[in-house]
Symmetry: C2
Subunit: 125 residues, 2 copies
Amino acid sequence: MKKIYDFAIDLTLDVISGKWKPAILCHLGEHKTLRTGELRRMLPGISQRVLTKQLRELEEDGVVSRQVFGEVPPRVEYSLTEEGRSLREILISMSDWGNRHAQRENQAGQEIEIHNGSKSGFEKM
Amino acid sequence: MKKIYDFAIDLTLDVISGKWKPAILCHLGEHKTLRTGELRRMLPGISQRVLTKQLRELEEDGVVSRQVFGEVPPRVEYSLTEEGRSLREILISMSDWGNRHAQRENQAGQEIEIHNGSKSGFEKM
DNA sequence: CTGAATCCCTTAGGATACTG
DNA sequence: CAGTATCCTAAGGGATTCAG
């Protein structure tokens, strides 16, 4: 089915929006390649179902690639595609903006807390 | 209530995610200031209710400011705050990435169409 | 170990009508 | 003109169980 957007921004947002997608992209950016279980352990609270769903969507959008090894027990590895790596700058600036914004809002009385599992993402690429 | 994020990216995403928010930010970026009705006409299909909701959230997040003129009939003007203007770079790179991504995906057989109501947003800032 | 199948619930967004 | 109040639905996530 044809997807239509009024703004290119909406397309980008579509790709990276998802409760765990930014985290997944950051982790994959830092570790090059990760198995399903490793990823799951890095995302406390995520369920198996949701994890695979988020990964499928990222794969569908061409930013993550999935490699299946025909072994027993099963072994599946995920990594960023070139397309996925090209998101780096955007994720970094979003991370920076978020940190600055949190500071300002907190000074203005808001209560925002950021754990920063990855300050700007992709450190070790 | 205290908001907690694992990644600063999620906070930024929280601020700009919303069906009409990117469009609103772009339009406000280009026109400096817009009345409710002008904005509504620039967003074909949006309902009054949703428009005010999106605007309230953007205001709540400190990226948009709302100015009420005590006139009859009512007159309300919206504009970006300094905080909102600081989103410019991010929105532009997201727009660029989206356009490039659409091209590549279309060459790969996908069907993505972008009208580009604003190619990179904020042209006239 | 990885993932599919169910079932459920919350919420963003839409349609519509009404008010100052 | 700008905004609120209701009502409704579609979809993203979550919990749990089963399967190769």
